[in-house]
Symmetry: C2
Subunit: 308 residues, 2 copies
């Protein structure tokens, strides 16, 4: 019997400009990036809200990938729209405009069939909504959440409640330092574990990831990709690869080694996303591509015994 | 018969301020950091110039470590003095003051006994001086150089001549992008190889290193250290560990695997330097410490087979 992943997050249209060009209202949102990545490995269930302007083709795009969209509600109004741009180093998005639209009154309600999902990803949404989802799921095997500076600053108390209830926190480096007051990721990781999670994965963009747990640190650089077009969605794609891999393992419990491999698959999937605008590059990926990219990654980070 | 390393670089007194405190006129300079690190593995020979104010204890400090100081000249005047500070993230030094002093008229002259050194490190000095050293050594096995934005901007033609004559370039990420015009390290590495070196190692501070050569990329994060006190000299220490390990191998030629391990030992050594002001932490390191730190690094970056 397969493990199911439920993701609660945003579905959006993004307008993005990078040094490599620009796109208007391309498909985006954490739940889209996450589910396309995860669906290569495991069945995914989405909870989210879209407006009347959401294209049916964008819905079908998910349905043809083994993604259950029952939990996606259509509300009166327009879909969430984000507009942003990136400077030359592409490490940080500058938000130019955020039209929450229907996302403003989003109140996640899990269909009954979703409530026994073994794997739960609380993408970056208001911590109160994340708590609401936690109250609706029954004894999941594994729960992780993401967050952003907005919630760290404006909803810290609620965020800390979420952290006391998740197995793993996935968070960007800047936000890890903001959350903890630490001046580097190594120190931040250690402080985050005191807030509740058993593991933390700090995402470092082009510099890779840092995982920390009871057995210490595990860190690798990002997959070497020279043609970075648009980094939007890379973090959510990482989460999708991470969850997809973990849920595809038949165990009822996890080893640290499983989580290390989850980070590796997260990195592999994210490396596709950055190679095109929006979801364009990720949507073309198949299992063979994943295998090829994994081999590249292993080759770039593996240390053989020193010769004598 | 042991391989000898000759390093040509600066010997200095540094005044440094970081968020963790400040020191006045502490021992520094690329040749000092490099040689202390390398000397744990192989015999080192230094070429440099100091002023009349250079303490004899600072000279003895090297001599007790198997470092040949014949090539260190004392000139009339004061030793090179650098003053700098670091912001919270400690990734970039802000130069407050540079008193070249005797370093201004430095003209490296290798003692005859140094000229058959098998390993040559041209630390970050004017490319014309680096070329002068290259003209004095006889068929070294391995030559690497470092550089900085000052030379990339003001002495590019000379720098390109150096690059066409070295086996490996060691360079910081910001400078790799400045040198090549590339917007990320992955792309920069590839462009640098077109300038002459067979290998390039891009140093990324707290984010580790990226090596690129004929067999592709090899990258690892930095050793996880949470108590970063002062990052001054970390890059030169990396070079020292790199060279020290490579020269300790008895081969007359190199495999890519040797260079990967050289990067690992470079990272290991650099991780000690950042844990104290100036050279204070590095000077306390012995072989047992190196072994312990190497184990920590391997544990943090090694991926075991996925369990079934």
């Amino acid at each position: 019997m397969k493990n199911h992943i439920v993701v609660v997050g945003s579905l959006a249209y993004d307008s993005i400009e990078t040094p490599r060009g620009k796109v208007e209202k391309t498909l985006g949102g954490s739940a889209n990036y996450f589910s396309v990545a995860a669906s290569l490995f495991s069945p995914v269930r989405i909870v989210g809200v879209v407006g009347e302007d959401y294209a049916s083709s964008d819905l079908e795009l998910l349905q043809t990938r083994n993604i259950d969209t029952q939990g996606m509600i259509t509300a009166k109004g327009k879909t969430f729209h984000w507009e942003g741009s990136y400077e030359n180093d592409m490490n940080e998005a500058k938000t130019l405009k955020t039209d929450l639209n229907v996302f403003e009154h989003f109140n996640p309600e899990l269909p009954e069939s979703y409530r026994n999902s073994e794997f739960v990803f609380l993408a970056n949404i208001h911590p109160q909504l994340q708590l609401r989802v936690l109250d609706q799921v029954k004894n999941p095997l594994f729960v992780a959440s993401d967050t952003m500076n907005l919630w760290i600053n404006a909803a810290r108390a609620d965020l800390l409640k979420v952290l006391s209830r998740v197995h793993t926190l996935l968070i960007n480096e800047g936000e890890a330092k903001l959350l903890t007051g630490a001046s580097n990721a190594i120190a931040a990781a250690s402080l985050i574990l005191q807030m509740g999670p058993r593991f933390v994965v700090i995402k470092r963009g082009e510099y890779g990831f840092l995982m920390y747990g009871p057995e210490g640190y595990f860190m690798l650089p990002a997959v070497p990709v020279s043609d970075v077009i648009d980094p939007t969605g890379a973090g959510d794609t990482f989460a999708g690869g991470f969850f997809g891999y973990l849920a595809s393992r038949a165990h009822s419990s996890f080893t640290t080694n499983d989580l290390k491999w989850a980070c590796v698959f997260g990195s592999v999937m994210a490396s596709f996303t950055v190679q095109g605008f929006g979801l364009s590059s990720l949507l073309k990926v198949n299992s063979q591509d994943v295998e090829t990219r994994l081999n590249l990654f292993e080759k770039a980070t593996k240390l053989s015994k020193a010769e004598n």
